[in-house]
Amino acid sequence: MTRKLALFLVVLAVAGPLGSSGDGYAVDWRALDSPPGALYGFAGGHWLGTDELGRDLWVRLCLGLRGSIAVGVFALLFAALLGSTLGVAMGILRGVAGGLVARAADILAALPVTLLALVVISTSGRGLWPVAATLGALGAVPVARAVRVALLAATRAPYLAVARIHGAGFWEVARWTYVPAVAAACGTACRLLLPQLLVAEGLLGFLGLSIPAPGITLGSLLAEGSGRLSHAPWAVAAPTAAVFLLLTATRSRA
């Protein structure tokens, strides 16, 4: 069910604007702050209403969903790559260096990701790649810790001694033991991380620190709508539902 919901949201983000006449940026002066279905009916244009500049909310919602999913997925991929590499390095490194890296990761893991992201993004600038890279780099810490623990457990498994006695080499052991352990730990950590990254991106977008205009994310749509609650409540209702469905799909998978 949740897999279908996630797939539906991805399809909506990619193909949703195709069926609409507007592009999400075109201004319709006849339909400023138009409620859902008020101007052309629900079968015509602007079926989800328009914003204060007469821009189609349905298309903007789909574009916002696309922006949020893009930042979340790119950040997750970056976190998985960086986290796995760091985790394996932390698992291999022993002695003082390994201890220092592990303690630094512990301190970073104890700090709130969104606040750290604020510090970094305020200097590096906004945009898809800076935000995704920052969230990915900070999200890599829990992935690295999970991978390190899995790798250490795998290297100390008692059956490895038996495998070596039977003549298994390093690469054979790595292929059948280390790689599956690291992949499983990385996958689990990433599943838990995705909703956190989406919430962090949403909050950054809401504060105006994610993709800058004319780019759209669900957070920026919510921020636009919350400024005009009394005039156009539908501008908040649609992104609210989208955020809820997106988090439901990803949290339940986690």
Partner: protein
Amino acid sequence: MAGSTARQGSRRFAAWSVRPVGLLWRLAAIPFTAFAACGLCFLLWHLVPGSPFATEQLTDPVTRDHLAAAYGLDRPWWAQWFQWSQQVFSGSFGSSFQYRNLPVAALLAQAWPTSLLLGLLALVVGSAIAVPCAVCVVRKPQARVAVFLEVLMDSLLCVPTFVSAPLLLLLVASIPFNLLADPDAGRLVEYGLAVLSLSLPIAAVVFRWTCVALRAALGASWWPAIAARHLPEQRRWWRYALGSCVPQLTGSLAPLAADVLTGAMAVETVFALPGLGHLLASAARHRDTPVMLGAMVCVVTTVMAVQLLADLLPTVGSRGRGMASSV
């Protein structure tokens, strides 16, 4: 009975005989950890490309260089770190880039109490919502109300504060009696909504933890003995079952402190509350690094203090646990 009281007393003594030393260590660790965390932020800030004055408005490189020299940003990073550390130990945290010539310490002194009160109220309200719901769900899991509550609380996990804050405002604005029209009452209602929107994710997490702890208590070996005492049901549940959950509940509240302070950024922005979150968001938009680093010190100190309190609280709540285990 006397034996059980003695056991209980010795347990408490053992707990407190260890705690003062540990407490001192933990108290001493707070400023050092906050300082180390900010060092990490400082390093991150210097590692990423960009500058606080590299904005669209400042296109003239000479002006940018003058500004960087005025704020000491043209010096090497270690010299900047040393200067900032001196300012932290003198309690000033430097000057804000955004509010000219205003010390960061003064800004933090204004904002910190607002966020602390908001966060504390949110923790209390979140727990007050979650605990009765959890008791209701665990007592009668098959009841329709229990199923509804469980689904509702699970749904709240998918409603972050930047969604719940405008949504609650929209709900209150749409009711026939316009509570927000009156300035005084409206301000109070807005504050209540801010606390409620911040407390909803807390309620969802505390609900889960309480359900798990209560189910563990019902499966514990001492629960049949409590049930055999023919005590009133309310007393059994609220005193013994919930009393045994106190360590887990306080343990679950501690990690939420960071989430509360993060969520406060959206809530304080929506309801225009002059708190730490609002200050941080504004500082991030204006690249006001001294304010952000100062706010990080406050956040880390608060989170560590809450975690210390959460570690101490189970000792206070050990009464229920001790009684339960002494049966």
